[in-house]
Point group: C2
Chain length 215, copies 2
DNA sequence: ACCTGAACACCGTTCAAGT
DNA sequence: ACCTGAACACCGTTCAAGT
């Protein structure tokens, strides 16, 4: 609606306007949806909103996407497909650190993405395949295949969960109400909560756990 | 609709039917919503469905609940309010284990609850306050207040995430596609995945990490 | 005080038409 | 092949009535 670049030039060259060519494309649709996700959150990415942003009828989208679930899957892929999860480092610890810092950075760059990935019927298996590097690193650390997978899931849950909390503002839930259960002077950590530090703490804790596990 | 016990007796005693008393109550509404959540998942708990289950107009609910968010908050509270998160054990490790095993057990008893708690604007701070016992245990383990909180969030993300994956069937997402990225003989852990064992592994890993951290 | 019924502004999606 | 428009079966919620 408010995008000035969307209603631009129509029929190019000499073609006599072949049925109002809009060059609507799956890529353009996915990008419009991602823009909506970034600006207004996951509940704003609606077939009708996406269509409106592209100045098109809702039903026009279905020539390119199949369903809303398909579109959301495309959005998730698009947001992650330029990620580089490979640290190219022989040390398994720095490899795992790099991997999940990268995942978190992307989730913070696209508010609403973490939520989208948690609503998992939307995330295609392909999305996190690059994380194979993490599995390799954990195996290299000495974990058997099954435990490497378990640790991988633990790290994914943690990373997405934290990013999600951060994105929707200082935790509305899960926090034991400091204002009522605890004297005021102890509530300081809630007021200036350092998400970055908390994330790094969690990563270190898990990696320390891996160390102990393989020892 | 299909509940035979809902359309039962009307006006009792000698009262001349004072405007069709339905004894509709917040508790009954919350319980009907929880039943819907358990049977048909979170997307089935709809104002209209809840009203239908109670044989009442959707708008009748608003005399007792305020909004759908308020209702969902009530459902979360109801599902958790009989939980006993206190192990009454001096050992901090068994206290933390008990706490999160209990949380997970409740989430598995109420499929859809984990998802509900993750959509956190719905979970009231009060819901997880009993977890104060966990914080106390982690402080007792030697963690400073801030790190105890961080570990608490890590454990909550992990527990809810795992329960959520388990509830919606063998992970549709987040799994690095074994069938295409890896030879078949290595895919066994995917086929018979032991959620209980994976959860226990995660707990142990985190507690080992705490041990290392305070040492 | 509590419940109903109609209505409003939304959803995703189907289907028959248009070009 | 691609897009439109009307329609269907849903949402949560407001508002004026009924008792």
């Amino acid at each position: 609606v408010s995008d000035p670049a969307s209603g631009g030039e129509r029929e190019r060259g000499s073609e006599p306007s072949p049925a109002r060519a809009r060059d609507l494309t799956r890529t353009r649709i996915v990008e419009a949806a991602l823009a909506l996700l970034d600006r207004n959150g996951v509940e704003a990415v609606t077939m009708r909103n996406v269509a409106g942003a592209l100045d098109v009828t809702p039903m026009a989208l279905y020539n390119h996407v199949g369903s809303k679930a398909d579109l959301l899957r495309g959005v998730a892929v698009r947001a992650l497909d330029h990620a580089d999860f490979d640290a190219h480092d022989p040390d398994w610890r720095t490899q795992v650190l790099h991997c999940f810092r990268e995942l978190r950075a992307i989730c913070l760059r696209h508010p609403g993405l973490a939520r989208l990935l948690e609503v998992a019927d939307v995330a295609p298996p392909a999305v996190l395949v690059p994380m194979d590097t993490t599995l390799a690193a954990l195996r290299q650390a000495g974990l058997p295949e099954r435990d490497a997978l378990r640790t991988y899931f633990l790290l994914v849950s943690f990373t997405l969960g934290q990013a999600d909390y951060q994105n929707r503002g200082p935790f509305r839930a899960l926090a034991p109400r400091p204002e009522t259960t605890r004297p005021v002077e102890e509530t300081t950590p809630y007021n200036h909560w350092d998400f970055d530090a908390a994330f790094e703490f969690g990563l270190r804790l898990v990696l320390d756990g891996v160390d102990t596990m393989v020892k």
